[in-house]
């Protein structure tokens, strides 16, 4: 199962029209999305009613379709851990404070997790396959796997797959109480050496097709999820096995792109395997650009596709070693709380 990535689109804390030539730096405990002008893609009357995550998702999906030169996909698949938090929060607040009285439907309608995939279908008039995965740090990965399965079942399809998550005041306050975040500067985040990271949000989409075409930017060679590995050794074994199934050794990976986020507790896990299985391989990171959220790997994948397409790894992305002179294969390895690991293998095409 593999696919060619024909187009990508990202809305994140970075301005995707100038990244990585210009990188936005942040200080504090979160990286908010750099909102583009959503009027480019969405009717102004609709914009006012839409939650941010819906706008981000619709915007990023439009950019990726444009990039692929595609007007109508055959399938729309989204992944989101939290869903439409802002609308959920609005409805919950009124439910509690108004004691279940005088509620209005808009926030409820927009609170369902499939709102973004439904909106994209509605705006495109797309009657094709439509699915939404809501499984934490496996949401993007399942969306991609579903897309790969669809292409294996029918190679004529073009699949729009992506992931999105938003920060709201409620979610940020509550997640902060779990001790997930700290105040830092994005330039120092990865080497901060203390517990906690910076929160992020964003949306990224990819147009997948079975055949290489003039627009193809990279090949999505494989996706794998590892659930609750018992140890770093087990994880390393899974990674080696995944590479082996694609006829590769760790040394064949030109760049390892990890999900390190500056939280010393989780980064130790990356250190361990980077220095054993991937000893001497260049390592890059992406969460100092987009922040930490369960579908942040979508930003990492967007960045990696761009790097494979241009042959250039942004210098600011490098964490260990030097940016490789030739870039053929990138392995994205992301984990959340050491319980959810995902592997996304990309190849230049």
């Amino acid at each position: 199962m593999k696919a060619f990535i024909q187009g990508t689109g990202s809305i994140s804390a970075q301005d995707s029209t100038v990244f990585p030539a210009t990188i936005r730096e942040y200080e504090g405990n979160r990286l908010p999305v750099a909102d583009p002008d959503y009027k480019q893609w969405i009717d102004i009357r609709q914009i006012r009613r839409m939650g941010r995550v819906i706008k981000m998702g619709v915007g990023a999906s439009h950019i990726s379709l444009q990039d692929a030169g595609l007007t109508m996909p055959d399938a729309i698949i989204t992944g989101t851990a939290y869903g439409c938090l802002a609308d959920t929060g609005v409805f919950l607040n009124k439910l509690v404070t108004q004691q279940e009285d005088m509620l209005t439907p808009t926030a409820f309608i927009q609170s369902t997790h499939n709102t973004v995939a439904g909106q994209i279908a509605l705006m495109l008039g797309c009657h094709g396959y439509n699915n939404t995965f809501v499984h934490g740090a496996f949401s993007l990965e399942n969306a991609l796997q579903d897309g790969l399965l669809l292409l294996q079942e029918d190679p004529a399809r073009k699949v729009l797959a992506g992931a999105l998550d938003e920060i709201t005041e409620y979610s940020h306050t509550i997640l902060s109480r779990f001790g997930l975040y700290k105040n830092a500067h994005t330039q120092q985040l990865l080497r901060s050496g203390t517990p906690g990271t910076m929160a992020g949000e964003g949306a990224a989409f990819f147009v997948l097709g079975a055949e290489k075409n003039a627009r193809s930017k990279a090949e999505l060679t494989g996706v794998e999820m590892i659930y609750r590995p018992a140890s770093a050794e087990e994880t390393a074994g899974h990674i080696a096995g995944f590479l082996q199934r694609h006829g590769l050794q760790p040394a064949d990976i030109d760049l390892l792109l990890t999900g390190r986020n500056g939280d010393v507790r989780g980064d130790a896990y990356y250190d361990n395997i980077e220095t054993t299985l991937f000893a001497g391989r260049p390592v890059a990171a992406f969460k100092h650009f987009c922040g930490e959220y369960p579908t942040a790997a979508a930003f990492g994948m967007w960045m990696a596709v761009q790097a494979l397409h241009t042959g250039q790894v942004p210098a600011a992305a490098m964490f260990k070693g030097h940016a490789p002179a030739t870039l053929k294969r990138v392995l994205i390895w992301n984990h959340q709380h050491a319980t959810h690991h995902s592997l996304i293998l990309l190849t230049a095409c």
Binding site: H113, Q119, N130, H135, I174, R177
Partner: protein, 396 residues
């Protein structure tokens, strides 16, 4: 790779019964599960009947072997998923590559809405254990961990079609050779969030719902969980499979965020796609388990799509939501269990509360329970918000 995907077993828990056997009994005795709220606390307790699972969280927790402070969504899921797996006689989960694909729409919202009562007064308060399992995926993992499922866990949320999409995704992973067995279906607990949400849409009936009845005025919310166990050809040889999941399709209506198109475009494409994959004609379908929510909009769109597709060859149809209420993310799973079991045992379920045929339809739902029907193919429909439409076909 597996050529076919088999249903090796399944079970449910819902307002009609704590397991499949109890539900069958209720269908036969025409005893719908709707009534006044006993467990959900709501300002609308005396206004809207609901189909609650007839057990408190302590009792469910004991049945599930889980702590009673966990979300009711997880407790319901565990009870049905464990029973579904046990029904296959396959033994230890750890002997196979097993996945859990579970759908839900509310996650741990039952706990979150309680948390918010305190949190909204002071954001430093509210017990974090009430929101730690807020995410839909977290509910699936509580159950996967309790069952010992390691090879694949995922959660799908496409509103009211979620459970059916879980079966589809599971079946496709088996076909691709990725897994040997998948426990697939959905779960949802009643919450004030969904009750009030549907109330703002003005589609809740204050009486027992009347699906496919001309006098229908809305749906009753229900709760529960339902899972089938999908297995590969190889595993099917080790068990007595109920039937095959022979066809399925997912389409989008692309008409409105919550409403169905009047002619049921998405419904038609989904049903047609499922028939095509199963390689059967409309006339081969022996029974349709309708989505049949009881809202004006759904039943009209679904009915007209059936008219267009079946074109005179109308099989017996009924909505088991007239007994279970609309269990949202669970409904596709619960109704898949009912449909697969119906095929295996030649059962056609009745549609309760039916009196008046819909003017626009040339067919009406079945109103009596019957056994001994020669069923070769059964269809199950699930349609939802966001235009999400899915249809499944089970074959002998």
């Amino acid at each position: 790779m597996s050529e076919q995907v088999w249903i090796a077993g399944g079970d449910v828990i819902c307002g009609t019964g704590l397991n499949l056997a109890a539900c069958l009994d209720a269908f036969e005795k025409m005893q719908p599960g709707m009534g006044a709220m006993q467990h959900l606390r709501s300002a609308h307790a005396n206004t809207f009947p609901v189909a609650e699972v007839k057990a408190g969280n302590d009792e469910l927790a004991a049945m599930a072997g889980m702590p009673a402070h966990w979300s009711r969504t997880a407790l319901l899921s565990m009870i049905a998923a464990q029973a579904a797996w046990n029904s296959t006689g396959l033994g230890a989960v750890s002997n196979y590559r097993v996945g859990l694909v579970s759908a839900n729409t509310v996650g741990g919202m039952d706990k979150t809405e309680h948390f918010m009562e305190t949190y909204l007064q002071d954001t430093a308060t509210g017990r974090l254990r009430e929101v730690v399992h807020h995410e839909c995926g977290s509910i699936t993992e509580l159950v996967a961990d309790a069952l010992g499922v390691r090879h694949h866990v995922s959660t799908i949320s496409t509103a009211c079609s979620s459970g059916a999409n879980a079966l589809m995704y599971g079946a496709r992973m088996i076909r691709a050779g990725m897994l040997d067995a998948v426990i697939a279906g959905g779960t949802d607990a009643l919450t004030r969030f969904t009750l009030n949400g549907f109330n703002t849409l003005m589609i809740l009936d204050q009486q027992k719902c009347r699906p496919f009845d001309d006098t229908r005025t809305g749906l009753n919310l229900g709760e529960g969980a339902g899972y089938v166990v999908l297995v590969s050809d190889r595993l099917a040889e080790q068990t007595t499979a109920w039937c095959r999941l022979s066809g399925f399709a997912n389409a989008n209506d692309a008409y409105h965020q919550t409403a169905s198109s009047p002619e049921g475009t998405g419904n038609f494409i989904a049903m047609q796609g499922a028939l095509n994959m199963a390689g059967v004609q409309p006339a081969d379908i022996g029974y349709i388990n309708l989505h049949g929510t009881g809202t004006q909009n759904n039943d009209s769109s679904e009915g007209l799509a059936i008219v267009r597709l079946f074109n005179g060859h109308y099989p017996p149809v009924s909505s088991t939501k007239s007994f279970t209420g609309h269990t949202l993310g669970a409904s596709g799973g619960i109704e898949a269990v009912f449909s697969a079991y119906a095929l295996r045992h030649g059962i056609i379920y009745p549609n309760a509360q039916f009196t008046t045929p819909m003017k626009e339809l040339p067919f009406a739902p079945v109103t009596t329970f019957s056994r001994g029907n020669a069923l070769r193919h059964v269809m199950s429909n699930s349609f939802g918000f966001g235009g999400n439409c899915s249809s499944l076909v089970f074959s002998e």
